[in-house]
């Protein structure tokens, strides 16, 4: 029995170590493996922050903002996606905790808060699936192991966020990664969240494919999403207000902006049809809190559908272009 026990441990422990080493090691040391947001939960010192959902997570590259306006300091994009970070209580709590532990109250940073009609709708933005409310979550210094086991899975880490099954990871994702390393070619399949919180959207679609992806996504939204009877959701909008108030109170030198992210023309039509009161409501909210509101569907005149990989997610090129427009429009000192 003793020999059996020893043999069991000798034969299983190396596998367990290799497995955990692969999973946790890649997650820790290769930032492009993190497609959920570990990098956003690590301890960080910064001066400015971006809040929102996947539109801003993929659409705003903090590096562009830093380069354009070095005086704004270090940026962190603290946006997730609709299931994690609509304006629910968990996300508002997480955002408040994150700014408190990452930014000095005396800093004169910027807070860019992205809103769109969906995040203020009860049916889409209730945040019931958010893991940000889980007990293990510490937005200021997350535990790598609990993050790995709760939010990611090994195949996704190995496959660089491709969401593929085992066979596809073995047959296509890993060979492509190896080939990429050997030939120094950039296959553009990385979907990881970078250390500044940006989640590049690497899809390499032709113009025709982009148009199809846009049409499919809008079609999906029309068929699968519904608008709640009351818009905006009282709870979602009150959480948004709570965050703004907190930022204004605790970071008096900072500048706060409410922004509506750009979307493809087809998605914009749908949003205007379903949520015609969005613009007025956003302007009222901005006035109430004495912050500026900008709708980038109106400001970014050079925007085309080619900047998007689907109806509302900007491609890497689109994100870089938009980030520059954002910087030029917003990052000037306000009175």
């Amino acid at each position: 029995m003793k020999c059996f026990g020893i043999r069991f441990f000798v034969w299983t422990f190396p596998s367990a170590f290799i497995f955990l080493g692969l999973w946790l090691g890649l997650l820790k040391f290769d930032e492009s493996r993190d497609n959920q947001g570990l990098n956003r939960l690590k301890p960080v010192e910064c001066n400015s922050m971006i809040f929102g959902i996947s539109r801003s997570a993929q659409g705003v590259n903090p590096a562009v903002l830093e380069e354009f306006a070095p005086n704004t300091g270090e940026w962190l994009n603290f946006s997730f996606n609709l299931s994690v970070s609509p304006w629910n209580e968990a996300y508002a709590d997480a955002a408040i905790n994150k700014v408190n532990c990452s930014i000095e109250p005396s800093d004169s940073g910027w807070f860019l808060i992205f809103i769109d009609p969906w995040v203020l709708d009860d049916n889409c933005g209730a945040g019931s699936n958010t893991w940000l409310a889980d007990e293990w979550v510490d937005v200021c210094d997350v535990n790598l192991i609990s993050y790995a086991f709760n939010v990611t899975n090994p195949l996704d880490v190995l496959g660089k966020g491709s969401g593929d099954d085992f066979l596809s990871v073995i047959c296509s994702s890993i060979p492509r990664q190896l080939l990429s390393c050997l030939s120094e070619r950039n296959f553009n399949f990385s979907q990881g969240v970078l250390s500044n919180g940006w989640l590049p959207n690497p899809g390499m679609l032709s113009p025709q494919e982009k148009q199809v992806a846009i049409a499919e996504k809008v079609d999906y939204y029309r068929k699968e999403k519904t608008r709640a009877p009351f818009w905006p959701s009282e709870s979602n909008s009150s959480q948004l207000s709570r965050l703004i108030k907190h930022l204004k109170t605790c970071f008096p030198k900072s500048q706060i902006m409410l922004l509506r992210p750009p979307v493809s023309s087809e998605m914009l039509l749908l949003e205007q049809e379903w949520f015609p009161e969005m613009t007025n409501w956003a302007k009222l909210l901005a006035r109430e809190h004495k912050v500026k509101y900008t709708d980038f569907n109106e400001v970014w005149k050079a925007k085309t559908n080619l900047d998007f990989n689907d109806a509302h997610h900007l491609s890497i090129e689109g994100a870089n272009r938009f980030s520059l427009v954002l910087a030029e429009t917003c990052l000037v000192p306000m009175d």
Binding site: F4, F8, S15, F19, L22, D156, D165, L167, S168
Partner: protein, 488 residues
């Protein structure tokens, strides 16, 4: 509780340790009872993890067959007047056997087939213009009911046939019925094989323990890596078969062949391996069935515990193949149709059984159903390879009926084979079956020491480390997919 779950990963070592600690004192009879009681409690916890309410069903079935077994034995052994007819004795035993059959098949019929019969009854009347209000019983199918029902039935029948003496120890019998490694998906173990092992003192044997672990790992790999990966493609293709090209649909059917094999044989391997850790040997349930050269050989290698059960308790009592040609044909159809129906209350399973009966028939009529009793040695010859591939594709087409929602879907799925279009999953579709067949051949899982036991030690270490890493990766990523055969 699923074998591929975290709960089982904790449950197994705890029960294993407690079991062998108790074994230190099992020289005393009372301690052996205690050890069996532990097995019983562990088995009920294992089953109750899924739904504790159905434990009462197992307990009821156990009590009925325990009591019936004693009564049959009493009837078999009672003294009768010297000149009295022997049938006096057997008619009483027969009545008790009838009780066992009625209770066990009644439970199975109610929980598994009641809705099927009601729906078909209503539909049949509807076809002749009599419309009845369709109503169905809201019955949950208890996991593994087909397996433990057959196991308890075999106990009563074997006592009736005087092939087995009943046990007078209720705990022992209850542990036999509910032995957790094989409770929910087999192998369907015979009382004559399993009860004596539970009744006697077990001894931990190092080699048995190691081969048990090898089987558990190999089973986990087949389930978690092979079957669950195939399931992703199969679910997609079968759900949207009208949108895919013929070659893709064929690929989907091949993937399902490997999914169901990986899933079910994986479960059996884990069950057999787990039982070995407890010093108990279970029968082999699969012997590389996709290497079969004809359908008859396939059925000697696939789900052996079920096919031998039907052979011993249905086919042979009906006369088997030694009752003239037409009766042999009838018996063949009976056994395959019943086997199909055993799998589920759906016409698709009956169609699946019928297809196998039709494929078996030419072999029976030509007297060639037992020509492949030997193992394939070394590298197969071209004719062997041709026969193996033909059998595999015949089995694969039959699986389409097994997997489809209904017979119309299955027919349409096959009808779409002729449609043109691009082949999806190109390279992967080829790599997967080739890799599995190679691994199965290389592993030689039916070897005495378990899979890969013939490799040198360092090679074994490398192989098992690789398998374990892949199993961890897929196991956590796919998170606890249920076994297909749980529904039966």
């Amino acid at each position: 509780m699923l074998f591929n779950s975290l709960e089982f990963l904790l449950f197994l070592p705890v029960v294993f340790a407690a079991y062998w600690i108790l074994n230190l004192w099992t020289e005393k009879k009372a301690m052996l009872r205690l050890q069996n009681l532990l097995l019983l409690v562990a088995s009920y916890v294992f089953y109750g993890w899924w739904d504790w309410r159905f434990l009462s069903l197992i307990a009821f079935s156990t009590l009925v067959d325990y009591w019936v077994g004693l009564q049959i034995d009493k009837a078999n052994n009672r003294e009768i007047p010297i000149h009295a007819n022997e049938s006096i004795r057997s008619s009483t035993a027969k009545r008790w056997l009838g009780v066992s059959l009625a209770v066990n098949l009644g439970l199975l019929g109610y929980f598994k087939y009641a809705n099927f019969f009601i729906d078909n009854w209503v539909e049949a009347w509807g076809a002749v213009g009599v419309h009845m209000d369709p109503w169905s019983l809201k019955v949950i199918l208890p996991v593994g009911i087909s397996f433990y029902t057959f196991q308890t039935l075999s106990y009563s029948i074997d006592i009736y046939r005087r092939k087995l003496n009943p046990t007078r120890d209720l705990i022992q019998f209850a542990a036999f019925v509910s032995f957790f490694p094989q409770l929910v998906a087999g192998p369907i173990e015979r009382a004559s094989a399993l009860l004596p092992q539970i009744a006697s003192r077990r001894k931990f044997e190092y080699e048995e323990g190691v081969s048990g672990l090898r089987l558990i790992l190999w089973g986990m790999f087949k389930k978690v890596v092979v079957a669950d990966t195939c399931a992703i493609y199969v679910n997609d293709i079968f759900a949207n078969y009208t949108e895919y090209s013929g070659p893709t649909l064929m690929m989907g059917a091949v993937f399902f062949s490997f999914q169901i094999y990986g899933d079910f044989s994986g479960y059996s391997d884990i069950a057999i391996g787990t039982a070995r850790l407890f010093g108990i040997k279970l029968m082999t349930n699969f012997k590389t069935p996709y290497f079969s050269r004809d359908i008859a050989e396939f059925w000697r290698r696939w789900h052996i515990s079920l096919s031998t059960w039907f052979r011993d308790y249905l086919y042979i009592p009906l006369g088997g193949s030694k009752v003239g040609k037409w009766k042999a044909v009838r018996n063949t159809f009976v056994i395959f149709l019943v086997s199909g129906f055993w799998h589920g209350a759906n016409w698709t399973f009956i169609a699946w059984g019928l297809i196998h009966a039709l494929m078996f028939l030419p072999l029976l009529l030509s007297g060639t159903n037992r020509i492949h009793l030997d193992e394939i040695q070394g590298i197969p010859t071209i004719p062997v390879l041709r026969n193996t591939l033909t059998t595999f594709f015949a089995v694969t087409v039959a699986w389409i009926f097994f997997r489809a929602e209904n017979i119309v879907d299955a027919m349409e799925y096959i009808g779409h084979f002729a449609s043109d279009g691009e082949v999806r999953f190109g390279k992967k579709g080829i790599i997967l079956p080739v890799a599995i067949v190679f691994l199965e051949w290389w592993a030689n899982p039916s070897a005495t020491g378990g899979p890969f036991s013939r490799l040198q030690h360092y090679k074994q270490f490398i192989v098992f480390t690789g398998l374990l890493v892949l199993t961890f990766i897929c196991g956590i990523s796919y998170s606890n997919q249920e076994f297909i055969y749980f529904q039966f």
